[in-house]
Symmetry: none
DNA sequence: AGAAAAGTTGACCATTTTTTGATTTTTTAT
DNA sequence: ATAAAAAATCAAAAAATGGTCAACTTTTCT
């Protein structure tokens, strides 16, 4: 499931450049060319924010300070000023890292990846889900039925994870496709159908049960 | 118990300045005005080392390189030269961070605190790990199977150590690459594949066993 | 400087996963 | 009962992944 990155910078050239690169790296991006716009995009719950310090009206530091209490995700500052003061300010205001212009795109994406990964670990979301005798370990990405392990491929597991963490909710194929492949992915949501079939097959073969229900004309749901 | 910080710099002015400030911050400090002195102070097991690169006789990089295998604590380089090359060298030689003169005392102590915090988590790892009849000595960096020593190169050992200390967890090649080479390293994670192959080869030849398991599409894990 | 060891790279192949498209089955509405 | 829409099935193509090898570069040691 692709991570969402919010890029905030008043220069469109810059946001476009970063957005393109990060999308190439497999992330979903949200772009805001002003702090105001950024605030409204926060509702989409980005997983990481790249924040330019120099902006008109509300600058990056102000923005960071005001959202830090509500938003827990990593924030990386981008700045042209290289004074020490900036670094400290950034970190005091609740930033997690800073990077000074000019920087290489690769360095940026390396840091993005590192922060996302670190964040992943510290998020103390439950890492084991259960359903009947099924034990789904999200960190090992394994599924056990009693002693028996049921092997699932990456995409299959992604879908299981998504449906299970949102158990009892119905999602149509489009929605599932978007959740797993990212909403800029170009492709047919027909793949979902096939993956669901594979998942059902494996689960049913071992457990004799059906966990995923089809709601006709609506989508699929994981029955808890 | 206050953390001990070893400050290494040939200029007494500097060591005194840093020492005073860090003591104000509540740390214990050890001061060395030469690399030789530093080496003997290592016996007191500092929790972090601040190391000037420019020093007569043995310079900071040399010192770092020669102690890195025995000392696990974070090392922060201090340098007046601000070339990129220095940064890279510092990190390659086993440093954890660098800071360029002039810097503010606040920034230094902020970084010190950050590194100590990070290190806290990873601490208290044992010096010797075992798996079946395999004995892996982290301080000597040797691997024995019974009486027989299995020779591993540095990178190979690094990978074994990483996987073993996180046994049963799955890491994809990217993660392993990042863990060993550092996240700012530019390079292909395909090297990991090759190292894993070498490690497996050596281990299997001697022990007849497979310790590293491949989880398809997921990565590798050391089976405990 | 030269040899040996370590580290890295890119290509190739086998295997597995993922995707696609055609076809069949099921469900719903008329 | 029948047609239309939605979902399931199946097989085969396409893409991604992992293992292996040989060549190449860098580092280390003598």
């Amino acid at each position: 499931m692709a991570n969402k990155i919010l890029i905030v910078d008043d220069e469109e050239m810059m946001t476009e450049l970063l957005s393109d690169h990060l999308r190439d790296c497999g992330y979903d991006t949200l772009v805001a060319n002003s702090s105001r716009r950024a605030i409204s995009l926060l509702q989409l719950q980005p997983d990481l924010i790249i924040l330019d310090i120099n902006m008109p009206e509300i600058d990056g530091l102000e923005l960071c300070k005001s959202i830090r209490n509500h938003i827990a995700c990593p924030i990386i500052f981008v700045t042209a000023r290289i004074t020490e003061q900036d670094k400290i300010n950034g970190l005091q205001y609740g930033g997690d890292d800073y990077i000074t212009k000019p920087f290489s795109l690769n360095e940026l994406s390396a840091r993005v990846a590192a922060h996302l990964r670190r964040d992943e670990r510290s998020k103390c979301k439950p890492y084991v889900l259960t359903a009947n005798n099924l034990i789904v370990n999200l960190s090992e990405r394994t599924v056990y039925y009693g002693d028996m392990q049921i092997p699932f491929s990456k995409k299959e597991f992604d879908i299981i994870e998504f449906l299970m963490t949102n158990a009892n909710q119905v999602f149509d194929r489009e929605r599932i496709y978007e959740a797993i492949w990212g909403y800029d992915a170009t492709g047919d949501s027909g793949v979902v159908k096939e993956h669901i079939r594979k998942i059902r097959g494996k689960l049913h073969e071992i457990t004799g049960q059906d966990y995923i229900e089809t709601i006709w004309g609506m989508g699929y749901k994981w029955n808890r």
